[in-house]
């Protein structure tokens, strides 16, 4: 890779001893000869990023690597065209260019240097002004001098900081074309900061959109596939031009709203934050094996260590959890991964309850269990299940799920659909509380279920079902349970929220330790948690995991993943995948302002702050494309394309979700 911005953070110390995180986890690769634009609102740190690439500023974390060497200082190989030209006013046009050429080509003979200087004066058509000083030039001419000065020393990398920002539209247009031709001819790699959407589209191969600061990150990367050489007038006629333009504008609008909201929030924070820090919390949970972090935080004193007194309240169903958080019965709760997003957007026609999550409590942990009857009929794999269903035209098989926006539902549907079984047309999915699953299976009310442990193992132990697939085979490392809380609660109790996340992070770390697993199983088997025999808990927690009566078992150490591999980060990319699936089955509309929604619902910043305070290595993994077991690639820059590629799906609306209107509506009802 030619230029690599490798997980860069930029943190500025503040006068009051605090720190301002300008950029967070910026990861970007740029190929040789590529033209990349950085776009975002002012204060999003795009110039800071450019300065770090130039070497004028150094990252606080991570590094910038140019051709395999880390950039530690500025130099003429990374020439910058500054926003305010930065010409020396006491030198003429020629002298300004000569200053660069003479310094960089010190070893070349004078005649050759003169040639280079004159060539570049001609390149930007400044021959008649060569003897003039900057004060006598127009803004456009000054910028041409700056570009000529930059190009004259043949940089490997050309960095442009809003180069045409101060120019009038006509001059800007002419200069953009000139710059484009020069870049195409000399095959220079360029990074440009801009806030002009058309400029970005005309010049760039890729447009990198940065979210607002603080902790600005890459929101989306748009690949501009317009043919080159480009011409201003032709480019706008290209059928892809306006859709791409709309995409960037939509992004900028989202960010503008977010910025406004942040400003409003900041001005009202002092009023909103509770006078007395809240230390007694009611937290809802569902009795499942993966409520372990909550149970452990309580029993092993992690809550107490962080100054919290917690009442863990057992909920009867996931709906109970959702309504409990919505009507403030619970301050926070263990939730299924999609629930905060779905509650925020408003699931199933219900009003929106802005809810956010700053911690993933567990990954994996689910299994698809089918009845013994299906096993005997040969449905021992996805394909076999398909043929059994196809044979039995008259019978509708019933499969239990726990909630519409649980990962069980999304994963089961994904699994069925990739086996060409339409989860709405060819089977019936019925919602049941997890505790009821085994009972219903035994009674023959359902033919299978997808649910968290221990119920799959329980069915196997009882000999009434078998495990046909686990999370590990569908999407290893999928987010499963998260910590959810109302957004307004979190804003009012920032300290309690952070303490809660820290306590649970430590509990998660504890749970992932193999030597603690026996103790974890013992605690969970107590009546105030699951109240099931230890034997039902151990297969998934300590192994061996047994899929059917005859199965000798298999060690699956990651069947529950509580902490390893950055498990606890509420990754935004995963949130986007969840949004795509919620839309696919028309559980919620797809928000075309998904970046804004994800930034508000998945609070990576709180997770990172908690990790930092605990001294843990917390990072948000790269926003790379990934795939599930069927190999269909999910590109976080093109979620709608992913949706289009999925053969079985419902009709789903794509619309803008106005989170603030939801806020207001809520405020009225309060």
């Amino acid at each position: 890779m030619f230029l690599e911005v490798d997980h860069v953070d930029k943190v500025f110390p503040l006068a009051n001893g605090g720190r301002y995180i300008a950029l967070e986890n910026i990861d970007l690769q740029i190929k040789q000869g590529e033209f990349v634009s950085l776009i975002g609102h002012s204060g999003c740190g795009k110039s800071t990023l450019l300065n770090m690439i130039a070497g004028l500023d150094l990252p606080s974390k991570g590094g910038v690597v140019l051709e395999g060497r880390q950039i530690a200082a500025p130099g003429p190989d990374k020439m910058v065209v500054f926003q305010n030209y930065s010409l020396l006013p006491w030198l003429t046009v020629r002298e300004n260019i000569a200053l660069a050429v003479n310094e960089v080509y010190r070893d070349k003979p004078a005649s050759e240097r003169r040639e280079i200087i004159e060539h570049h004066i001609d390149l930007v058509n400044l021959r008649p002004a060569a003897k003039k000083r900057p004060a006598q030039l127009s803004g456009g001419m000054k910028q041409r001098v700056a570009i000529a000065r930059a190009l004259s020393i043949r940089p490997k990398l050309l960095l442009l900081d809003e180069p045409f920002g101060a120019l009038d539209a006509l001059t800007r247009g002419g200069l953009q074309e000139q710059l484009m031709h020069i870049c195409e001819e000399s095959k220079v790699t360029a990074v440009m900061v801009t806030h002009d959407v058309d400029e970005a589209l005309l010049l760039s191969d890729r447009v990198v959109m940065l979210t607002n600061g603080p902790a600005s990150h890459i929101g989306q990367i748009l690949t501009v596939d317009l043919p080159r050489p480009r011409q201003r007038m032709q480019v706008v006629k290209h059928p892809d031009y306006y859709p791409m333009r709309a995409e960037i504008i939509e992004f900028l609008n989202q960010q503008k709203r977010a910025k406004k909201r942040q400003a409003e929030l900041q001005s009202s924070t002092s009023v909103m934050v509770s006078q007395l820090p809240k230390t007694t919390l009611n937290i809802g949970f569902m009795p499942l094996t993966d409520c372990a972090p909550l149970a452990i935080a309580q029993e092993k004193g992690f809550f107490a260590k962080h100054g919290l007194t917690v009442n863990l309240q057992k909920a009867s169903s996931w709906d109970d959890i959702a309504s409990g958080v919505a009507d403030r019965r619970f301050d926070a709760a263990q939730m299924v991964a999609a629930m905060p997003l779905a509650m925020t957007i408003g699931m199933g026609g219900q009003p929106s309850v802005p809810t956010s999550t700053s911690l993933v409590l567990s990954r994996n942990g689910n299994a698809i269990t089918l009845s013994k009857e299906l096993y005997e009929r040969g449905a021992q794999s996805l394909n076999e299940l398909k043929s059994v269903i196809a044979m039995d035209k008259d019978r509708r098989y019933r499969i239990g799920i726990v909630h519409d926006c649980s990962m069980h539902n999304l994963m089961l549907r994904y699994w069925l659909a990739s086996g060409n079984i339409d989860p709405d047309q060819e089977v019936d999915l019925v919602i049941l509380p997890p505790q009821a699953m085994v009972d219903q299976l035994r009674k023959g009310q359902i033919d299978g279920f997808c649910v968290g442990e221990p119920w799959g193992s329980q069915a196997v132990v009882e000999g009434i079902g078998f495990v046909v697939a686990t999370d590990l085979e569908i999407w290893a490392g999928n987010p499963e349970k998260v910590l959810g809380a109302r957004e307004d609660w979190q804003q009012q109790n920032p300290e309690a929220m952070l303490a809660l996340v820290k306590a649970l992070l430590e509990a998660c770390e504890f749970c992932d330790e193999p030597r603690h697993r026996v103790e974890v199983a013992e605690i969970l088997s107590r009546p105030n948690y699951l109240g099931v025999p230890l034997a039902a808990l151990t297969p998934s927690l300590t192994g061996p995991y047994i899929r059917s009566t005859n199965d000798p078992g298999q060690m699956l150490p990651r069947f529950h993943q509580f902490h390893l591999d950055n498990s606890n980060c509420p990754r935004r990319v995963e949130g986007l995948w969840i949004l795509s699936q919620l839309a696919r089955w028309n559980i919620t509309p797809f928000p075309n302002n998904w970046i804004e929604v994800l930034d508000r619902v998945r609070r990576v910043d709180i997770f990172l702050e908690a990790s930092r305070q605990l001294g843990q290595v917390g990072i948000e993994p790269d926003r790379d494309a990934f795939q599930l077991f069927d190999g269909l690639v999910f590109d976080p820059d093109r979620p709608l394309e992913y949706l289009r590629q999925q053969a079985i799906s419902r009709d789903y609306p794509v619309q803008e979700i106005d989170l603030d209107r939801a806020d207001r509506k809520l405020a009225r009802t309060r």
């Binding site: 130099g75 003429p76 020396l88 006013p89 006491w90």
Partner: protein, 276 residues
């Protein structure tokens, strides 16, 4: 279509320029006249104490006004000689101050640590009045002439030094970025960026410095004696020659004004126009 308009015959001085000149010179002249008249009314001829302007004119017309370059030996010389002697001292002290002030200023201004270490000392020293240095310098140099020059130097050096430091520190980040990106050598940086950028500040310092040194020399000469405009005034005072004192003061003022304007003129020629 553009029609060529016949140019009007160019005059040696265009009417507009003439008007401007009259506009700038006339008001101060009138003010001066009013002042002199008032003075004359307050101090009519024959009154005791301060002489009126007409009396001053009469008493000093010969030789001080018509013949500035008479020489009757020792310190009895025309005011031209007296002023020249003072100017010589100023030039020596001031040149020294300019060289030291600018070079030390660049050094201190471009190094944060040195600046932090030395700036408080400068701030204390610069408040010491020029004449307070005189006893010390006389002890050190044991001779009038070098100690007078030293007083000029020590007076003029602070504004030059401090302004140069500020000038160097105020170099816009943009120019420093250019230096860093192009990896300019030290000499290129100093000649092409640092000096031109700090020049306006340096000249402000020089202008203040020359004014102060002129103030200092007049005071210093009063004490150390010898040929010089300061001693001329002091000598006239000891002989109770009021009119001579007044004519001496007029000379001091005019020369000081001329010095200031001279440095200002040089600055306007050397300092690059700031882009706006």
């Amino acid at each position: 279509m553009t029609a060529t308009i016949p140019k009007p015959k160019s005059l040696p001085l265009k009417p507009s320029q003439l008007g401007k000149l009259v506009g700038t010179i006339l008001p101060p002249l009138v003010a001066l006249l009013v002042l002199l008249t008032l003075w004359q009314i307050v101090c009519p001829e024959g009154s005791i104490g301060l002489p009126g302007p007409i009396q001053v004119w009469k008493e000093t017309f010969d030789p001080y006004i018509i013949n500035p370059f008479f020489d009757k030996g020792l310190t009895n010389k025309g005011l031209g000689w007296q002023v020249l002697a003072s100017l010589q001292r100023v030039m020596a002290g001031f040149s020294l101050a300019a060289v030291v002030g600018v070079s030390v200023g660049i050094l201190v201004g471009s190094n944060k640590l040195i600046f932090k270490a030395i700036d408080p000392i400068f701030q204390v020293l610069r408040t010491v009045p020029p004449l307070a240095w005189l006893p010390l310098s006389q002890v050190i140099f044991r001779s009038n002439e070098p100690s007078a020059i030293f007083v000029i130097f020590i007076t003029a050096v602070w504004p030059i030094l401090i302004n140069t430091i500020v000038g160097v520190q105020q170099i816009p980040q943009d120019y420093i970025n250019v230096k860093r990106v192009l990896r300019l050598s030290k000499t290129t940086y100093v000649t092409k960026i640092l000096l031109p950028a700090a020049l306006p500040y340096i000249f402000t310092g020089l202008r203040i410095g020359i004014g102060l040194s002129w103030l200092a020399i007049v005071a210093a000469e009063m004490i150390i004696g010898g040929v010089g405009i300061g001693f001329f005034i002091f000598d006239s005072y000891t002989n109770s020659l009021m009119s001579q004192i007044i004519i001496g003061l007029v000379y001091v003022g005019l020369v000081g004004f001329a010095l200031d304007r001279m440095v200002g003129f040089v600055a306007s020629k050397v300092v690059a126009q700031e882009p706006k």
